[in-house]
Symmetry: C2
Subunit: 410 residues, 2 copies
């Protein structure tokens, strides 16, 4: 049994989700039990810097280097704070899995410098800092290995969904509504190769941006869909949004801030201003678009490949009652189950997943799902950094002994 | 016994040095035998992009992300080409240690985003790509852990110098003249804590930039000091260069492109134009400054702390006969020995060192030298990525067996 901390900061960059997971065994008999969740917000200036850079703003190597180390400190602080709050000493944590903060992701290759075609991804939040401050071995930077193996580097959570939700009799879809919405489709009795996954399109990203603009930054998201419930869907705008070409693209496919980021929200806001639309109507329309773009993916790509009994919903969107009601209405015959019923609070789902992915990597087992990412083969994703303080246990003056046990301590 | 490949691309970004090293045992009885060296030049456009970004040019997260993956391909290609040339199959290589390409390094902390003081370093050349293309486990990104532990993240080679050159009776200094010049001082019979190391100042960086400007990019360095030998030292300029404040700073200290990069060379060229100095005179003056700034460090900081019998010289500067002659003249009583006499060609020295550092990290042993870097404690530097193809050996369908041997395979 190992207690593993998983950490994740999503594309919205509002802070770090930390999950404590008790894991034992090996697939298919792996057990991963959620124990606790903590959220650590980024300081406003840190969030602003992340969003500016992630949205394609001009920067320098210096700024990215400093931000990488600064976020390392933020992740380390989040883990330390979480353990203090949970009253679990860091010394009881066997491993940390840190996704880091994505500041760039391009799943498909394009020519770079006229030299060769490159796909790439960049997560920051220096794991050496996390390992040093916590004294816990840390595995980070999962996506690059899948991409090196020809995959899109995303989605990664489906592997964990498959480990946890795979069922002999029930066809299940795991849906995460974060900044982007993604699904993992696990047909009843599926082998790994039969599981498929893709991003359906926007999650909370558009609604969050509209709410933030409408409230001049006071609200970051539409709590309980209060704003959306006050508004009305604008039919013309809704129809136009549903014509989004991404929805028609065949899976596997990944979406990001590139498609649905600030430029997208700005265009919506500009549209609204021109037509004097009420902000609440814009928020309502974007909320409906988000839910129905997800339902659209079921009708286009999922139902024809698998019978689905249950839709397990995680992510911030799972707490949006309007989104949930619309999904239920658009997907008759599918039972909608909050991921929390599996013991994992929606807001902890991704952090939980990176604890499991790290645990698998630590034991040298492949932890990507080629059928979801498009990778040419299974691979062990993640880079392992040993704990700084942990090394002090073996004195430098005793190299023979250190050498003897070296292999296991990696 | 393990065959390890070390790879390094220095601040001059002219390409990748690859060293093949046969390593066995553990300190103090470690044996590291140099076997072969290969140099793979970067395409001109890649070098230009690196230098632009490393010199502080405006960039984006996208460009750094893509350059990271592109350089991963370059490093993988360098290792593959090297093995083909050496007629050593990649399957015989147990480990790759890759330093990567530094695009930013700031050894001492300064306030960032008004949030906290940060020191940081950024090496690129994605190790997941190297591991995937070669099928060899790869350890990369050494500097961040030393920096997380409070060190300057440099210099790292002194640890290897200490392992290789430590002698019961002879006081030795290992000098590397790369873009920057650095020394490791190993008093006779020294313990690790008595070894000290620092950057003396410029290495070939200034001379290279002057030569490149004078030849309109045709020559990248002053081969055999031919240009310098045609010129004369400009006494006023030389005296002014020797007043460089960095030379007086007390060790430990690190220098980089920040101090002696393109801005520095541009100022020299502008000075020369204004006074109609001959380019060869500028090159001569910069060459003399480089050698005597190294000698200056001996008189200021080394001789008063240790008796030195031998100066072991590596790096491109070891092949500059003017630099070598001036060092000999300025350091009477010290025997100057090319590192090649220890079986390591000067141009392979740093790549060799990263093979040894990776070997130590792989076996879970601390591989920084706090007395050189200023770190608060020894730490295991480096991030381990498993080989992509290597993972295919253990089929995903046999998780129990994979789990059983997982620890050792990290």
């Amino acid at each position: 049994m190992m207690r593993v901390i998983g950490m994740m900061s999503g594309t919205s960059a509002d802070g770090i989700d930390v999950a404590l997971v008790r894991i034992s065994g090996a697939p298919p008999a792996i057990s991963a039990k959620f124990e606790a969740h903590h959220h650590a917000a980024f300081p406003a200036r840190v969030r602003a810097a992340i969003l500016r850079i992630a949205n394609g703003g001009q920067t320098t190597a210096a700024e990215i280097s400093q931000l990488n180390f600064l976020l390392g400190e933020e992740f380390a602080r989040a883990a330390t704070e979480a353990c203090e709050r949970w009253r679990v000493p860091l010394s009881k944590i066997g491993l940390i899995g840190s996704h880091g903060q994505t500041i760039y992701h391009q799943g498909t290759a394009s020519k770079f410098l006229g030299v060769r075609a490159v796909a790439s991804t960049l997560q920051i939040g220096e794991p050496s800092v996390i390992a040093e401050r916590t004294g816990v071995p840390t595995i980070a930077d999962f996506r690059p290995m899948d991409m090196a193996a020809g995959g899109q580097g995303a989605p990664l959570v489906p592997f964990v969904d498959y480990l946890l939700y795979g069922d002999a009799k029930l066809g299940r879809v795991a849906l995460n509504i974060g900044g982007i919405a993604n699904v993992t489709v696990i047909p009843a009795g599926a082998q790994a190769g039969q599981v498929f996954a893709f991003d359906t399109g926007p999650g909370n990203m558009i609604v969050d941006a509209l709410v933030e603009a409408a409230t001049r930054g006071i609200a970051k998201f539409d709590r309980d869909a209060r704003i959306a419930f006050r508004g009305h869907t604008i039919p013309g705008l809704f129809a136009r949004l549903m014509r989004e070409p991404y929805l028609r693209e065949k899976p596997p496919k990944t979406a990001g801030r590139e498609q649905f980021g600030s430029a997208y929200a700005d265009a919506l806001i500009a549209w609204g201003k021109k037509r004097r639309a009420k902000p609440a109507d814009l928020v309502r329309t974007a909320t409906v678009f988000t839910s129905l773009s997800i339902a659209d993916a079921f009708h286009r790509f999922i139902f024809r490949r698998a019978k689905i009994d249950e839709l397990i919903v995680a992510g911030g969107g799972a707490k949006n009652p309007l989104m949930m009601a619309q999904l239920a209405a658009a997907l008759p015959g599918v039972e909608i189950v909050p991921a929390s019923e599996f013991g994992i609070p929606p807001e902890a789902k991704e952090a939980f997943a990176f604890a499991v992915l790290a645990y698998e990597a630590y034991h040298g087992r492949e932890n990507n799902l080629p059928s979801a990412t498009g990778a040419k083969h299974p691979a062990v994703m993640g880079k392992l950094v040993r704990g700084g303080r942990a090394t002090a246990i073996v004195p430098a003056s005793n190299p023979a002994r250190s050498g003897g046990s070296g292999h296991e301590r990696w």
